[in-house]
């Protein structure tokens, strides 16, 4: 369960794991629309993580716990 920071970038969203120096673009996120945000996400390097879905899209950047899939 690494602590990750989700941030806005010019092309979408980025996923940053400070402990691993991993900064990757998010290619897809399960729930992006209004009403629900989070779920399964895929990064540009192919790895997948799970974020506990939230009711509202949060203000970015935000630090969350993510589960590695």
């Amino acid at each position: 369960m690494p602590s990750v920071m989700i941030n806005k970038t010019e092309s979408g969203m980025s996923f940053y794991v400070p402990k691993k120096d991993l900064e990757e673009a998010i290619v897809s996120m399960e729930h992006e629309g209004p009403g629900r945000w989070g779920g399964e996400i895929t990064l540009a390097d192919g790895s997948r993580y799970f974020l506990e879905p939230m009711d509202e899209a949060p203000r970015l950047p935000i630090t969350l716990r993510a589960k590695r899939l």
Partner: protein, 483 residues
Amino acid sequence: MCAMKRDEAEALIQEVLEVYPEKARKDRAKHLTVNDPNVEQAKKCLVSNRKSVPGVMTIRGCAYAGSKGVVWGPIKDMIHISHGPVGCGQYSRAGRRNYYTGHTGVNTFGTMNFTSDFQEKDIVFGGDKKLEKMIDEMETLFPLNKGISIQSECPVGLIGDDIESVAKKKTKETDKPVVALRCEGFRGVSQSLGHHIANDAIRDSVLPRRDDDHSFESTPYDVALTGDYNIGGDAWASRILLEEMGLRVIAQWSGDGTISELELAPKAKVNLLHCYRSMNYLARHMEEKYGLPWMEYNFFGPTKIAESLRKIADLFDDKIKEGAERVIEKYQSEMDAVIAKYRPRLEGRKVMLYVGGLRPRHVIGAYEDLGMEIVGAGYEFAHNDDYDRTIKEMGDATLLYDDVTGYELEEFVKRVRPDLVGSGIKEKYIFQKMGIPFRQMHSWDYSGPYHGYDGFAIFARDMDMTLNNPCWDKLQAPWKKVA
């Protein structure tokens, strides 16, 4: 014009690795590579931020060096205690040349060494009492200090002293920030962890101090200058450019900086980050907590300065954009003169760099402005994200070496024969005795500043002075010279 072809460079790396035992060879092979600017991510070709192989001559420092020496040390109106045996503080005292204004020993303490000087009895019975007494004494002797940081050296962690409780008690007693840092030297693989620990301590015990204080009158043009440690006056040379273009610098982190500036930084409009490696954790934190955007910039060499000034101005209104153009215009002729003078003397020379966590990529632009070429670069303690940024800056088939050992660097230099090597003091005399001009790029070889337009003029002069020094022809004894 490149020094080597790709296969030659790869062969060189293989040859250098030959002498290691198999296990070490396998490990070191991951840290050395030939650059390919088309690679998107460094992790595909290079491994960084790993423990050094035991037995090699690594050039890295420790977590204490990262916290006390780099991040906290330059904060001038605080007292930084080197908590533990006397040596760590004494041998790192003032060596980094973080310039500041003020009266040392009265209201600023940058070049002084405060240490708890652990003796055998402190190791056996613990040093907390001594630390408390020391802080009391410091309050009496130096009442104008604005805070105290306790920088742990290795033994403090080994014997398990509770410095946090001392810090808490003294914060209450003195009503000043007393910050305990767990930056014992054995933590982590290099000084990089020290930066992180120092950043986290600032985040937890300094920044929140003014969260409810809104008395500071801010303007739309407030910026914080972060990750500039004012080595030889670097931050001053950067600051004047920002001020000339109409911005107001409300905080300098941490070169010539004060604790008050640190606390004010979240009230700025944008965080300008020079040394990404040592301050990015705080920049990211402030972006999340205070909604303060940050951007990296580069003030080495006129090309990069102009690029950075425009990038900074883009975040503000037309007045600042105009200001940026005015500043670039103002210094243009001066810079053209510098380049006209030194470029013919330096054109086409090859440089190899091995510095800390930022400079190998940041100074490339400045060397290119002088017509020089970087044929090899490496970092002591960089992480993947630093190499991501470096790969793009470096030419094809140049050498990249992470945490290079003394032996490897010597072999590379012997074979590549660069015209100039830029690294630290430990490497300086080896290469000078090999007959290769050398600049100490950690503290600018006791020169500086190198940032900003003023700095570039000094940089160009220094490079010329080193490279074209007549002494390099005199290394061979006259009777041994082939006629």
